[in-house]
Each structure stands twice: as C-alpha cells, then as structure tokens.
Symmetry: C2
Subunit: 156 residues, 2 copies
C-alpha cells in the first residue's frame, strides 16, 4: 500500500490503477493497426497523477508506441496534462472533468526536428466501473483534426 | 533479459540501467535542498531510450520531484530529448554526445497555465564506469541561466 491520495486529486481516484486491453488506430497517411495496451496511472501522495503507457502490435506482439506524463488537477473540474512521446512529441493539454470523463485539448504541441508535425490532439477518457475507454483525435502532417485512436481497457 | 538494443542506440548502451544516489539543488528563489534519487533508463528494442526519475527529500524521505521522457539518437553524436514534469513543464532538447557525456540544451520549454515559468534548461550527464553524474542549469522565473541541480548516482 502506498501513501493516501492527496486531497487535491481524491476526486480523480477512479483513474488510478493498472489498465490493460486493446485498441485500434488509423490515419489517412498510415496503415490502420491494432494493438494491445498497458496503462499505469499512479501517484506518490502529491497532487498529481503519473501516467505511463505502452502498446504492442496485436499480431506480432512487438512494441509499438509508448508515452508518459503527468496530470495536474486545477480545482475539481479542470486538469492540466503533459505528455512526452518517444516519437519526439510533447503535448500540453488543458482539460475538463465531468463525472468520470475527461476531455483534454492540446493547448500546445511541440516536436523535435526529426519528428512528424503534430498540430493538435484531443484526448477523451471515460471510466465506467472497471472499464476505461479512450479516443484520440489528431491533426497532423497538414491534415485537419480527425479520429486517430480508440481503445477499451480493463482494470488489471 | 529484454530485447537487444536497437542498432541506432547501441552507442548509448552505457546509459541503460537503474541508477541510484543523491543530489543537491539550489535556486535564488527557493531554499536549498538535498535529495536521494532513482533513475531508470530503459528500452524496448526500438531506437530510443525511456527515462523515468524520482527523488525524495534526503531528510524526510518524502517524494520531491519526478520526471519522465525519452531520448532519441540523431546519428551517433547528437540526440533529441523530451521530458515531462508533474510541475507542468515540458522540455524539448537538442544535445551532443561526446564519449560518455551528453550535453542537452533546451530548444523549447512550454508550461501549463498554473506552472512556474521556465525559459531555458541545460542538462549535462556523464557516465564513468558505474557512476552517473549530472548537472542541471536553469533560467526560470525571470532569472538568467544558472546552476540548479547536481547529483551523483551509482548503477543499482
């Protein structure tokens, strides 16, 4: 047992845990793909949540994507979210909390010189009991904001 | 045993591992502090390294700072580094590799609306056998670039 959740994130306790499941991605410029995924949302007793995610190709089992970052509460109905990706992408989001759903919209996306261009990312996360589902919309490589990822995870 | 290091990061194998030790920080606007630290630098067989760090107050043992991100090689003597921090800060670095030393300079730092302003960060990392030492210089809250952190870790 770790420390108790900090009071400032107690209202987000439904996010904390290890989640595993599968998802699918598509974008006009790439082949569609299916993946398995593991997500760890943790805390150390301070007023933020840590987030680490890894996916594997559903067919080959080879590592596909990963990302990590932190969620900061702003009062009880807003959040800030910062995410780093090995593809050289950093996302800075503002978001809203409604019940057990979060809608995060990128306020700024910056990329390294060798990364693909990403202009905007929206992330939607909903927890229903022991199920966590999410959708990601992305505007990248000159294309408008559109569906990119969808996954359903279960509490592991 | 995990997968073999991807050929594109084989020249950075000296960074990979679990490191633990202690450090000290100072900045004109805060009290000086000492900390213990654990760093995990890992990989999944793809051409990047993952980085997760946690510190604790050296006196109280309470969690202090944490950050996570990824290092991307660009050829054999340059890197890109992306780091997310729970304090709402995202650092995007370009860096050089010389022997077993890395000097990373922030090309862009973005922060969430509730975070402290950070203008520039330089990170110096050197590995000598089983010892990893680093220094961090930072320009923040309107002050010029100056020493902020220094630590010495050992391979755990």
């Amino acid at each position: 047992m770790g420390p108790a959740l900090h009071a400032d994130i107690a209202h987000l306790s439904w996010l904390v845990g290890t989640w595993a499941g599968s998802g699918a991605g598509r974008y006009p410029t790439i082949d569609s793909f299916e993946y398995t995924e593991q997500v760890e949302i943790g805390h150390v007793g301070k007023p933020f949540l840590s987030y680490v995610q890894r996916t594997k190709d559903a067919q080959t089992g080879l590592p596909l994507h990963s990302e990590s970052g932190y969620l900061r509460p702003v009062g009880t109905n807003r959040i800030e979210l910062v995410i780093a990706q090995p593809s050289g992408i950093l996302e800075l989001h503002g978001g809203t909390v409604e019940g057990r759903s979060i809608h995060a919209r990128s306020e700024s996306v910056i990329v390294t010189p060798t990364a693909k261009q990403v202009a905007e990312v929206h992330r939607f996360v909903t927890v229903d009991g022991d199920r966590l589902s999410y959708r990601v919309e992305m505007a990248a490589v000159g294309l408008p904001l559109q569906h990119h990822l969808e996954a359903m995870l279960h509490r592991a």
